[in-house]
């Protein structure tokens, strides 16, 4: 069930977007945050072979089956998280970045993230004044079960609520902000540990940016159905 090949003809000098038929898994090993279970990861490999040429390219990723939901609790106004349908008490820590001169080695990330897991955290919040963290950061969060709250590059202080008040309309180039945001989402979106994208720190991004981000990051309608905790009559697939 877990090996699928499809033929595809791509015209010269063009890009084609292709969606494989969904792969079915019965009772897959699920990925759980630190302290709730194992962080099970599957090796996913996508390969393309071209007739008359052979293997042309390949891509691989460690993928975790999990469902992360979060809602605002009407009573407390706080955000409640669920993983694989189970409510989770968030024990989170703030994260700016690993080194002020950006000496961000894989070894350094491994040590930092394992340290947070050993401190019994199950979430790391990447503050909006720091970085969109790197794939190596997320890789070790996948391995050690640390959910990641990733903010985009807006802070109250620099974007309209600081002293002096400055940049009330955020960065000068909103299109550039969205180009960077979209590329960052594509870089990081397959990581099991990525739990939440957040517009900024103590500040909402300017309306046009916020609307575009919400639109780009909304859940696909297909997953709206299976994102509810209801038993489905028929399989929408």
């Amino acid at each position: 069930e877990h090996l699928l090949s499809q033929d595809l003809k791509i015209p010269p000098k063009t890009r084609s977007q292709y969606t494989f038929p969904p792969l079915f898994f019965y009772k897959p090993q699920l990925w759980w945050p630190n302290g709730m279970g194992k962080q099970y990861l599957y090796n996913v490999e996508i390969r393309v072979d071209v007739k008359g040429y052979g293997e042309s390219d390949s891509w691989r990723h460690n993928f975790g089956f999990r469902r992360i939901q979060s809602t605002i609790d009407a009573t407390t106004g706080g955000r409640l998280f669920k993983v694989n349908g189970q409510p989770i008490f968030i024990r989170g820590g703030n994260w700016i970045l690993s080194d002020g001169l950006l000496r961000l080695s894989e070894k350094r990330y491994h040590t930092d993230i394992r340290f947070h897991a050993d401190m019994n955290f199950n979430m790391i919040r990447c503050w909006g004044g720091g970085l969109a963290e790197r794939p190596e950061f997320y890789h070790y969060c996948d391995i050690y079960g640390l959910l990641v709250w990733q903010e985009f590059w807006i802070t109250g202080d620099c974007d309209g609520r600081g002293i002096p008040v400055s940049n009330p309309d955020g960065p000068l180039d909103h299109d550039l902000f969205l180009v960077c945001a979209r590329d960052t989402v594509k870089l990081l979106r397959n990581h099991a540990s990525l739990a939440l994208w957040v517009g900024g720190n103590e500040q909402t991004p300017p309306d046009d940016i916020n609307t575009a981000l919400k639109n780009d990051l909304r859940l696909h309608p297909l997953f709206q159905t299976c994102d509810k905790d209801v038993e489905l009559e028929e399989d929408p697939l």
Binding site: H2, L3, L4, Q6, I10, P11, P12, K13, R15, S16, Q17, P22, L23, F25, Y26, Q29, L30, V44, E45, I46, R47, V48, D49, V50, K51, Y53, S56, D57, S58, H61, F63, F65, N84, G85, L101, L102, R103, L104, W127, G129, G130, R134, W153, T155, D157, C158, D159, G162, P164, S166, P171, D173, L176, C180, D183, K186, N190, C226, E231, L237
Partner: protein, 262 residues
């Protein structure tokens, strides 16, 4: 050339732009810097920042100790050129006829002018974006390729007020870049605002068709007994003929020990 990615994370050199009288074309054709380097060239930390390279060469004190950060000139006082640096390296690769070679930068702060074997290209602004260039047509047939990248600091590095404060004068907020670099209540300002090739540089060899940004999503039914893996990717045919492809997805799981289930 073997299909796949090779990181370019060794053998980089750097020099302050104002100390180099040559152009990017000359640096990557007739006048490459010598190795080992002689002034103004020095060994560079890539991935890393300008300040990381200066510290590696002991040209600045380590800003993490005592008040040494105060002895490093801030970009607001030195001007942007002082932290505008050339980074140079060379790499070998000889792809065959139907192969393509991409030069990939996973992140640069803040913008750059790139030269490869005498051909120039601008890399647009933004600290959080990838750059991937198909350089197949400008490779050096002899196999040794010379790469020089002129890295420019953020457009609005700002000035740190005497009282410091969160985000300094907030000018950095005008750019799409990390804002902590102007200093915060818990953090001294970073003098070069993290200018540099701060993330992975690589070259990747593919055949005529390239896989771009796959997206994997799982959906669950029957209380997680039934799950589906949905996979979408872009495939780019860079040849001038119709590519008849067979695309494959395979999922394996490492069971206990080294036994794999396919």
């Amino acid at each position: 050339a073997p299909i796949g990615k090779t990181k370019l994370d060794a053998g980089w050199l750097a020099a302050r732009s104002t100390d180099v009288k040559l152009t990017g074309v000359q640096l990557t054709t007739t006048h490459p810097p010598s190795s080992p380097p002689s002034p103004p060239w020095m060994e560079a930390a890539v991935p890393g920042t300008v300040l990381g390279t200066l510290l590696r060469n002991k040209l600045v004190p380590d800003p993490f100790y005592g008040l040494k950060n105060e002895t490093i000139i801030d970009i607001a006082d030195s001007g942007r050129d002082y932290y505008t640096f050339w980074f140079f390296t060379s790499f070998k690769c000889s792809p065959s006829t139907h192969q393509h070679l991409d030069l990939n930068f996973r992140a640069i702060n803040y913008s750059a002018d790139l030269y490869l074997n005498g051909h120039g290209k601008s890399l647009p602004k933004g600290m959080f974006r990838r750059h991937s260039l198909d350089v197949s047509d400008i490779l050096n047939p002899a196999g040794i390729n010379l790469l020089a990248v002129l890295i420019h600091p953020p457009d609005n590095p700002g000035r740190i007020p005497p009282e410091g404060g969160q985000g300094g004068d907030h000018e950095i907020g005008k750019d799409v870049a990390a804002q902590y670099v102007e200093g915060w209540d818990w953090m001294a300002p970073i003098r070069d605002r993290n200018t540099g090739i701060w993330d992975e540089v690589s070259i990747s060899v593919t055949g005529p068709v390239k896989i771009i940004d796959p997206h994997l999503v799982s959906s669950f039914f029957d209380d997680f007994k039934r799950a589906y893996l949905h996979s979408t990717a872009e495939f780019e045919n860079r040849s001038s003929w119709l590519a008849e492809c067979s695309i494959t997805i395979q999922v394996t799981a490492e069971l206990e020990g080294s036994i794999c289930l396919i």
